[in-house]
Amino acid sequence: MNRYPVWKNLIVVISLLIGLLYTLPNFFGESPAIQISPLRITAETGTTLLQKIEETLKKHGIDTNGAIVEGNSIKVRFTDTDIQIKARDILQSELGADYIVALNLIPNSPQWLTSIGALPMYLGLDLRGGVHFMLEVDMNGALSKSLDRYSADIRSNLRELRIPSAGLDRDNSQLVIKFRDEQSRSKAETELKKLYADLELRTQDTDRDFRLLATVKPDAHTRMQSAALQQNITTLRNRINELGVAEPIIQQAGSDRVIVQLPGVQDTAKAKDILGRTATLEIRMVDDESDLETALQGQVPFGAELFTERGGNPLLVKKQVLLTGDRITDAQPGFDSDNQPAVHVTLDSNGARIFKQLTRANVGKRMAILLVEKNHSEVITAPVIREEIGGGRVQISGRMSSTEARDVALLLRAGALAAPMEIIEERTVGPSLGADNISRGFNSTLFGFLAVALFIMLYYQAFGVISVLALSANLLLLISLLSILQATLTLPGMAAIALTLGMAIDANILINERIREELRSGVSPHIAINAGYERAFGTILDSNITTLIAGIALFAFGSGPVKGFAVVLCLGILTSVFSAVTISRAMVNLIYGNQRKLEKISIGAVWKPKTSKRS
């Protein structure tokens, strides 16, 4: 009866092998590396970039421990952090602004392990050090910004349509348009309804004037909110790319929040500065009259600035700003009438009017579109104005590939934040604390495990050894599961690993105590083993399910580090039931299953009471 069918043994063996395989990468450690990824889609990638990097490093006499191409980016491994930092500085200056050169750690595990997806556990910020931010988008700010835009647009619409109005005010979240007579109001209502599908219009009469109340429709409002959030995320991503972070996480949390995690970043001041920065777009005229050569020699004419266009050509741009980026409502990549890649920019009505005047006055000249961020301006593109452009739809084309068009559209859209953002949570962990936390978590687990193992082996002898082996298998499976799922391991998560070990032994104790009890009542060892496992199973299941309920609740309602605790707790329960029941039984069966006449089993002294038991 104490024998497993082949398939059950096979399951045990296979699960242990898989466990071992996926736990392996955790033993190899990590080595310092540099990750080079292209900032723009147009930049070179793959083997050409790899060659360039290898040549550059060779020229400067820096030894690498090999480089790999991974997707778009290239990772170069080094022996120590000094070389790593030196190489970073060299590559940064040699490759220029088209690439992100970031410090990173890459696992040392052999290639064949990586290729089957066996990676070390993914460490949380409290273990590897880094910055965690939660930003909240000020949706009221976004709404008021858009209402301002609507009011300016409506004002100029009414002027163009020659509808007389007695003023336009903003009252909290609605616009109040006043008219002197009912006729002009009804005319305005029909016209505005055609123009603005997103606005809800209502009429209101007071004793002095006839009013039209405009509010943003609820569905338009939610659309606007999610668009604002998306744009902010895009902007953040672009900015973080500048920071040179190897594996940043930027994700939406709820309807108005963004979580930014920057592993390995120590300079929080710089990170905050970059995240909080407001970028704007500017349209200025190119100064083609002045001499570029003298300007390049350092004599920049008065009223102009020297810039380098993307692609490397120097350019003189006038200082006067004609139009700013907040007039841009949308920018999309597309094609022009000659089927050449282009960017279609939509301006709001005020912007359209300014742009019309500007283009009429400057046909044949070049204008420059600049992205202006703190201390840094960049000419995105400098097209020639061919004709007067009205209607607020601007097409930027010429000498552009379709990927460049996409980049420019993204930059135009993402140059500025759609709505102001505020940091509402920050957690920064320095690298030394991260390393300390790892050793603390590790030591707690190690010494906890040793203490329990020693005690259980003394107390239950052979069955104790089996229990401890099952517990080790549990640890192995848990770590491999965490590695496979790449769940974030935090310090509370490491505490949960230790705690799981302490709790998992419960199942084996239940079984062993049951077997002792059966032996006490005088049944033969084989029957006692079988009954012990059978009867304990129901109890084990019940007690683990209650803990699982707690784990799931923690996962659902917890945040950050607590979530990490919950994940490990839940996974630990699953692996512990399997290892305590199935794996330990397999071992027991292996040892005792083939002994037909089993007189005695080694489960420690089974004390029998002198008085006979009732049951």
Binding site: Q266, L499, T546, T547, L548, L554, R614
Partner: protein, 310 residues
């Protein structure tokens, strides 16, 4: 080796009066401290800023305080953390200054005063986030409690669910009472420990309940008290050994886990100790009080015939 050699069942149920009195007293005391002293909520729940910095020499707390005073930041707590070289600085949530700027501001000033300073940790939680974390914590507590009652009610019977959850609330309140009395910091990790205890401690009750059910089937003639006494006595050895094993791990955490896991491990320790007590001596008397009967668990023969029908 065998520690527990019980000749006969221990009459736990006859002690019901005393144990219930003890429980009620500790419970009332815990509630008293919770209401008078309140929990010392950590920055996770109150909002504010915590800075952990480390110096190369033992830190001069007075000097740090005077630096902060020159910045006109009041209501700051500066204390050693772990060792004499590590310092923990707590700044309250300030309205006039953007809180993320506040930490930068303080760090710059401290760096000017002493270059050897190393930033170990910065935690800033906005007041709105703190409020949310508190609400989510309460929701999690509620969810776990309801989930466990429901599970026990389905698996056993409603009386078991109620008895189990009361026993465990008793543990949770006592843990909170300790945290209130000693004014230990109650952080997000401690909350995780409390919830884990809620799940873990129910294990204990479940093991005993399982045995009670089995005994109801086996000891057909025995009165309810004897059934329960026998169940507790016979699971006693397992109870002590299991909790002992878990406690060994928790002790390892207390010793090696550092400051970050200290209160987490402390909450677990209290939970484990009271868990043993409550599941044996609180849950079962409540079960008696609720009038548990053999028929609650062992279904009469008629029932089986009904089930046989399609």
């Amino acid at each position: 080796m065998e520690f527990f050699r019980f000749e006969r069942d221990i009459p736990f149920m006859s002690w019901g009066k005393y144990t219930t009195t003890i429980s009620v007293i500790t419970f009332v005391l815990a509630i008293f401290f919770l209401s008078t002293r309140g929990l010392n909520l950590g920055v996770d729940f109150t909002g504010g800023t915590v800075l952990e910095v480390s110096y190369s020499q033992p830190a001069d707390l007075g000097a740090i305080r005077s630096v902060l005073n020159t910045l006109e930041i009041t209501d700051v707590s500066v204390q050693n953390f772990g060792s004499s070289r590590d310092v923990l600085i707590r700044l309250p949530a300030k309205h006039e200054l953007s809180s993320t700027k506040l930490s930068e501001f303080v760090i710059d000033a401290l760096k000017n005063a002493d270059h050897t300073i190393e930033i170990r940790r910065i935690e800033f939680v906005g007041p709105q986030v703190g409020q949310e974390l508190l609400e989510n914590g309460a929701l999690a507590l509620l969810f776990v409690s309801l989930g466990i009652v429901a599970y026990l009610a389905v698996r056993f019977e409603w009386k078991f669910g109620v008895a189990g959850i009361i026993a465990n609330f008793h543990d949770v309140i006592i843990i909170l009472g300790f945290f209130a009395y000693f004014q230990w910091e109650f952080s997000l990790t401690v909350l995780a420990a409390v919830l884990a205890i809620l799940g873990y401690s129910v294990n204990e009750s479940v093991v005993i309940f399982d045995r009670i059910r089995e005994n109801f089937r086996k000891l057909r003639k025995a009165p309810v008290t004897q059934v329960i006494d026998n169940a507790i006595t016979r699971t006693m050895s397992r109870t002590i050994i299991t909790h002992g094993s878990t406690q060994m791990v928790v002790i390892a955490m207390l010793l090696f886990g550092g400051e970050a896991l200290y209160y987490f491990a402390l909450a677990l320790t209290i939970g484990i100790l009271f868990g043993i007590y409550s599941s044996t001596l609180v849950a079962s008397p409540i079960l008696m009080l609720l009038g548990v009967k053999r028929e609650d668990l062992v279904k009469p023969e008629k029932k089986q015939q009904e089930e046989a029908l399609p």
